[in-house]
Amino acid sequence: MHKLFELFMVFFKIGAFTIGGGYAMVPLIQEEICSRKKWSSDEEFLDIIAIAQSLPGVLAVNTASILGYKLFGIPGVLAAVLGAVLPSFMIILVIAVFFTQFVKYEITERVFRGVRPAVASLMAFAVIKLGKKVGISTFNIAIGLLVAALLIFEVHPILIIVLSGIIGIAAEYWGGRSNAKADN
């Protein structure tokens, strides 16, 4: 029970302090789950993001569900997803009931203008950390450049994930075979 509560609290923090959608939650999850709690490695975290991105629905919820399942099965899924969603639910409810003019407060705008550049820094920092972990090999750089090019042409992220996975498999079987030859 104690461990489940810990999982709930970690995702509660992630839900409460992630501002902006999609990948904005990456730095906080990486810090809490990978660096501090060591519940997942950086590499596994990237795999989980790829799976989460390839499924329909909310990226942060998908990530919470997969990590929750890994740690404690179905109770873990409930604890992590509830944790990720509850702060949103409570904050929005308070705003909807009491402060419908929320966006029009000048102070909100100022806080937000300050936080946005920090979110960019946090994400850039997380990308560097994850990039170092995965390693700078010719293969990784080649995939990276290809993906960057595909993104410029606005290819859908799911297609990009599928394609890079296929390249990974192709490289393993080709590369593996030529390595085996070289060994002989």
Partner: protein, 175 residues
């Protein structure tokens, strides 16, 4: 009222089950369902809700479904909207996780993810640019970005502290 709440639940269930890519991808879908089909909200109300959903912490899709649900049917509407939007993807993700953790030592799956990992890093990296474009508009915001980045590098600043600190800087600098 109960019928309305059930309606809200199934509408958001559909939205959650069929949109890929989270928050921003969901907005047009929510718009079609809520404004055009059900006429539950006006376009103006919807725009305000999206602005609030973006500014408040948490996933944008969850924020907007909670808010829209509340507008339509009060507290139970917000609960129906939120549970609806996350239900299918929570179950699908748990199933996918189960499969992944069972077979992750499989050679084929390992090779697959070896190709995917650098791609995901670039995908995340590309969203740094899209945030940067809307976040870094003047000297002050660029200053905040640099100060926070330096603090992350030098003092291993915790992300939560970075968010709080930058919010305070925003209040002071943009007065």
């Amino acid at each position: 009222m109960l019928k309305l709440i059930i309606d809200v639940f199934f509408t958001f269930l559909r939205i959650g089950a069929f949109t890929f890519g989270g928050g921003y991808a969901m907005i047009p879908f929510i718009q079609t369902e809520i404004i055009d089909i059900h006429k539950w909200l006006t376009a103006e109300e919807f725009i305000d809700i999206i602005a609030i959903a973006e500014m408040t912490p948490g996933p944008i899709a969850v924020n907007s479904s909670t808010f829209v649900g509340y507008k339509i049917a009060g507290f139970w509407g917000s609960l129906a909207g939120t549970v609806g939007v996350i239900l299918v993807c929570t179950i699908l993700s748990a199933l996918a996780g189960k499969f992944f953790f069972k077979f992750k030592d499989n050679t084929l799956l390992k090779a697959l993810f070896k190709g995917i990992r650098p791609a995901v890093i670039v995908l995340i990296g590309s969203s740094v640019f899209s945030i940067g474009k809307v976040a870094l508009l003047d000297i002050k915001s660029i200053g905040i970005c640099i100060v926070i980045f330096a603090a992350l590098l030098k003092f291993k600043l915790h992300p939560i502290l970075a968010v709080v600190l930058s919010g305070v800087m925003g209040v002071i600098l943009f007065a």
